[in-house]
């Protein structure tokens, strides 16, 4: 594939300076795994950070030599000649702290106890992630990112960057994101967490020592989450009321195609994802609220931002609907920031941000062409 970044490998950075979290807890030492694609130019002005969403990681594009089927989660967007063009940009993907793909997280061994952190891993916020990512940027010699790009929870990190480090990012891409979670969003997250927390195999978060995994809870959490990622239309088109055996069997076994699909997705996810990480990620989503420190005034919160923004929403996204993106646009307009907003007509709900959609890609490509011209200038 000529438009793939090809064979990639993950790298690891160790940090020995303690990181103090918003919660007050701290980690004395931690590791981040990351991947990079493309070349950092001499001026170090062409770096793009990709922030991942709830279940994402550092493997954004390309594939591994020993695992060629393991293709990066945003390979359709990132690569030579693709909208995030690795011929022009130096692209950085990082597994967030608290994750389960190699960065220090609840399943990592706590050097102080010799046991996995488990329930002792601190609750983490989007601000904490930005802080940890900034240290990685320092390590890589990146003073200022040309752009920070993220969808969903990733978009929240991109926004948060512009508020904590206004002079370290020139362009923020907030895709399928929101300025905070609604009560309904939090409610869905809480049901998902309860599925995990009440699983008898959860053991208060220390299931590693019991050599079990709260699979039932995690798969229920994922099934629920997955419903919120799809649109009613997408489900109707893909599954409708389709029956696996073509008839009612009057049992609780899988009958409808949608049941089969959700259970498959739940099983697949529960086989590789860590339940504690899932809990942490959903809490980070719940806590995200840049206006929190400003009496709920988002205009004031965004007054710190200096970056240019591209905000993108998708018509059938009901998890973070287009209206939520307008709530991001409004404080930027209030603060007279450069902001463009595109509403993409897509049937795929929240997951649209991961799909290859002509208009979505045209917008990304046009905007990024301008960003790359700035880097060259």
């Amino acid at each position: 594939m000529s438009d793939s970044v090809g064979i990639v490998s993950a790298q690891r950075a160790t940090f020995d300076t303690p990181l103090v979290f918003r919660s007050g807890a701290s980690l004395p030492r931690y590791e981040l795994v990351y991947e990079t694609y493309g070349k950092l130019n001499a001026a170090k002005s062409n770096a793009i950070l990709i922030c991942h969403a709830l279940s994402g990681h550092h493997h954004v594009a390309g594939y591994y030599q020993d695992d060629p089927k393991n293709i990066g989660w945003w390979d359709n967007m990132v690569g030579p000649g693709k909208p995030i063009d690795t011929n022009k940009f130096f692209v950085l993907g990082v597994n967030n702290l608290g994750g389960c793909h190699g960065s220090t997280g609840p399943s990592s061994i706590n050097p102080e106890t010799g046991q996995p952190y488990g329930a002792n891993f601190p609750l983490i916020t989007v601000e904490d992630w930005v802080e940890s990512q900034a240290r990685l940027a320092d390590r890589l010699g990146i003073r200022q990112f040309a752009a920070i790009v993220g969808g969903s929870l990733g978009g929240m990190q991109a926004m948060q960057w512009s508020l904590i480090y206004p002079d370290r990012v020139r362009h923020v891409f907030a895709i399928a994101a929101a300025p905070n979670l609604t009560a309904q969003n939090i409610a869905f997250n809480d049901v998902a967490r309860n599925a995990i927390l009440t699983d008898p195999d959860f053991h208060g978060g220390n299931y590693y020592q019991h050599k079990v995994v709260p699979t039932r809870g995690l798969r229920l959490a994922r099934m629920l989450g997955h419903i919120t990622y799809l649109s009613d239309d997408a489900m109707a088109n893909k599954f409708g009321r389709g029956l696996r055996s073509g008839q009612f069997n009057y049992s609780y076994e899988i009958e409808f195609e949608i049941e089969s699909y959700l259970r498959y997705q739940g099983d697949k996810f529960a086989s590789y994802f860590d339940a504690n990480t899932y809990l942490l990620m959903t809490k980070a989503l719940d806590y995200f609220d840049p206006a929190h420190d400003f009496d709920g005034d988002l205009n004031q919160a965004f007054s710190r931002a200096e970056a240019n923004f591209l905000v993108i929403s998708f018509t059938t996204d009901w998890r973070f609907s287009p209206q939520r993106s307008h709530e991001i646009v409004q404080p930027l307009l209030h603060n007279r920031r450069n902001v463009s907003y595109a509403e993409i007509d897509s049937t795929h709900g929240h997951d649209s941000f991961l799909t290859q959609h002509a208009q979505y890609f045209a917008v990304m490509r046009a905007y990024l062409d301008n960003v790359s011209r700035e880097c060259a200038a």
Partner: protein, 203 residues
């Protein structure tokens, strides 16, 4: 469609008229901004700070290519993203006739802007009158659509627009009427093909 935005800017006679009214460094909102060529023109000639609002997908991409900040939205659903008096000028260029809720939009323009500027094809132009007298809806360079395939739902004459302003507490500050690139002074409602108005809220 938008191969050379700058040359398009020079070609559109209303652009020069609009630019002449806008002082350097003004803040501008361009409603129905199309491919962003007017805003780009104003940025280059007048160093304005501005945003466009546009609904069409292809135009959104063109605006971004043109380096214009654009918000994708339908004008008829209002300008709810914008605060009161956020702009020095709110421009509606060759779009008034295609808006559904024209009254509400005019009020919104003067809510978010100190002054409004509209340009529109004059339906009272003699060619249009002649065309109708001869039995057909007019089709011209300024009104290039067939009656069954037109976005223009609220066409008006200069007199209609001025009556509208009078009835809606809108004060016209300046008017320029053109036929092609030529300014029209005599019998504007008959001889003008395009009109540009600058207006504000009546006090």
């Amino acid at each position: 469609m938008n191969n050379d935005a700058t040359s398009l800017g020079i070609e559109r006679p209303d652009f020069a008229a609009i630019a002449a009214w806008i002082p350097t460094g003004a803040s501008v909102l361009d409603l129905g901004c199309g491919d962003g060529s007017l805003l780009r023109y104003l940025k280059e000639k007048r160093a304005v700070r501005g945003y466009g609002v546009e609904i069409n997908d292809r135009d959104i991409v063109s605006c971004i290519v043109n380096g214009v900040s654009v918000i994708q939205n339908n004008l008829d659903s209002g300008l709810s993203d914008f605060e009161d008096n956020a702009f020095d000028f709110v421009i509606l260029s060759q779009t008034l006739q295609a808006t559904r809720h024209t009254e509400a939009l005019m009020q919104e323009m003067l809510r978010v802007g100190r002054e409004g500027i509209v340009s529109f094809p004059n339906f009272g132009h003699w060619r249009n009158r002649l065309s109708i007298m001869l039995g057909n809806m007019p089709v011209s360079r300024v009104l290039p659509y067939q009656w069954y395939d037109t976005p223009n739902v609220h066409l008006c004459t200069l007199d209609d627009f001025e009556d509208f302003c009078g009835a809606h507490r809108v004060t016209v500050l300046e008017r320029r009427v053109m036929s092609g690139k030529r300014e029209v002074r005599a019998l504007p409602n008959l001889l003008g093909s395009t009109a540009v108005y600058r207006f504000e809220r009546a006090v």
